[in-house]
Amino acid sequence: MTGEIGQLALALAFALSAVMAIAGLAGARETASQSRAVASSAAIGMFVFVALAFGALMYAFVTSDFSVLNVAQNSHTAKPMIYKITGVWGSHEGSMLLWVFVLAIYSLFIVFAQRGSARLTSAALGVQGLLACAFLLFILFTSNPFLRLDPPPFEGAGLNPLLQDPGLAMHPPMLYIGYVGLSAAFSYAAAALITGEADAAWARAARPFMLLAWIALTLGITLGSWWAYYVLGWGGFWFWDPVENAALMPWLIATALLHSALATERTGAFRSWTLLLAILGFSLSLIGTFLVRSGVLSSVHAFASDPTRGVYILLMLVVAIGGALALFAWRAPQLQSGAAFEPVSKESALLLNNVLLSAAAATVFIGTLYPLLLDAMTGQKISVGPPYFAITFAPIFVVLILIAPFGPRLGWRNGDWRQALRVLMPALGIAVVAALAVLAIVTPRSLVAAMAFALGAWTISAAVIDLMKRGNIRALPIGAFASALAHLGLGVTLLGITGTTMWRSEALELLKPGQSMEIAGYTLRLEGVQLLQGPNYIAQHATIDVLSNGHRIAVMSPEKRAYPVEGQATADTAIRTTGFSDLYLALGDERGGGWVVRAYVSPLAPFIWFGGAFMALGGVAGLWGRLRPRRVAAATRLAAAE
């Protein structure tokens, strides 16, 4: 029954999304207040039915209803309950349903937040309705999660063991809240172009959605990187894999958007540019979805052999992006921002930030899509790996980080760079000391490492100084912490990346029980390897003593897990962290009575993810500061009325 309920709910949600699209867009006219009411109701209705469909699928997973094809393919009775639930979005069909579910939640937010004028809200709902329409159609025709299987199998096929991990269980929802959150910014941008209300009030209305999306993307990427670090077993945190790049591109543009919208909100400057970024950000989300979901990445030929889904998403991509850009080209010229400011000003700094972030996003875009394009056009295969991005992407980001501290210290319209430099002088001093300290202490001596470390120290100390100069820390409104926390996080992440890539020690040995290996002052002695039975896997469980100066300081247990149902194996690494450095062990194969043990000591590795958390916290502070004053203002208005 649940399958049929889900199916029906999806169809009804589709019908309501069509109503929402038409009524919402019609409501953009001044007089059409009834259309606006219909659009709001349709949005609420669509949310209810999408939630029902999502609930139905979750119920089928929780009860292991293998008469539903999707459940039979992606679940198993022996799987722990949490992975039965997260299995809902472990498959293509389920993840697309999650996509629409998040879209429906955002539509609901738009209805209830009522930010901006009634016409603007209505038009934004209309655009959201169009997107929901397209995605629901896609699910119903190419990716239906409720297809039945007759006769139902006795047992399911299980879920990819790599996905059976708490970090990755939370990663897709977080990423989708970000991806789809950009749809709200996109819808508001399109609405502004339709109604012509692209002013400072528009930027204020759309900003919370941009912030929410950015926070979620930041956390999603951070979680994904952390997961890759501890699950994949070779100590890396970022691989420039196309799937990672698909999430990084929208993040870069969303970051640019937040900065550009800041100017639009405060002075009305860069209106059309902010709108364009809002459109581009979500376009990149769609492109990311296409890359990940169409199979075009694994090979151009896999895409060609079963192109139904890919072609549909591609079509949707062309219509959505093309439509929005056409709307932009048609309406944006009427938006003369007429911004007036000195070359040295916050506006100029924000522009510089935007051009660097956009160029960084474009670099990732080129690096990700070039091999696909070249293969499709000439048949020549090339690989674009980390060395490419180290040469092209890294320098852009270095300049960006170098100038980032100046932005918050420059005034609107007319800034004083000498004054800013004077204030930031102590940070410069700290950076120089940090560079000299690295050169003096760390061997082998590396100028690049010293510069990178100094850059991190510069950003962090400048953020702290910026915060202190704003006044008494305790009396500051929460919103004032936003940029300082986010910039601080950037510096912390940079320190982490520097430590991990520049100073990581690595050792790989074949150890028999009783033998030991050395790494960065630690002695690792393999005590033995036992077989252990997990809930749905069998593990080869190593016991390794960690000795420092002859004393045993820890026992670590990396594992190799075999999942008989799925026929796959994963590594369960053992990580001992001090918060400043990680000792990281992974167990390899058994060879001739010995085991391959891979060990890393990664200084500052945890900083990478601490930094991500700081950035997200900065976003939360910004969001809080954005929503609070409104409530306070509303309360005072209420008090005045009484």
Binding site: V231, L232, G233, W234, F239, W240, D241, A269, L297, A340, F341, E342, P343, E347, S348, L351, L352, V355, S358, A359, A362, T363, I366, G367, Y370, L374, T378, Q380, K381, I382, S383, V384, G385, P386, Y388, I391, T392, F393, I396, R413, L508, L510, L531, Q540, K560, A562, P564, G567, Q568, A569, A571, A586, L587, G588, D589, E590, R591, G594, V596, R598
Partner: protein, 136 residues
Amino acid sequence: MKRVLLTLFFSLLCTHAAFAVAGSEKLADPRLEARAVALQKELRCVVCQGQSLDESNAPLAADLRHLIRVRIKSGDSDEQVEQYLVARYGDFILMKPPLEPLTYALWFGPLGILLIGGAAVALVIARARKRLDSAS
């Protein structure tokens, strides 16, 4: 018997644990070994998605790691080893794509975008400055 079967099971599966070159397979000379490790980080596994030879544990990657050491031992320079592999597997094996007419857009695209963006920003700033003058 169960143990043997399990061991077989573990060894057949494509695991994600890293186990590049260990023990006796390493080159005796640490400098040559360091060169081999550096090389296998710059070359990709041709059967896996997005992994370097250093990270991959596909059997082919293991063979190639061995091959790199054989070439280095026989006196090849890093470039010669790379050329040897490119001749057999194509440019695909290089993590860093070569600079040639077909990849000019790849290598110079970012710089071009940065220059165009920079010029646009300069223009916008100049206009904003002019407006400031005409306003006062």
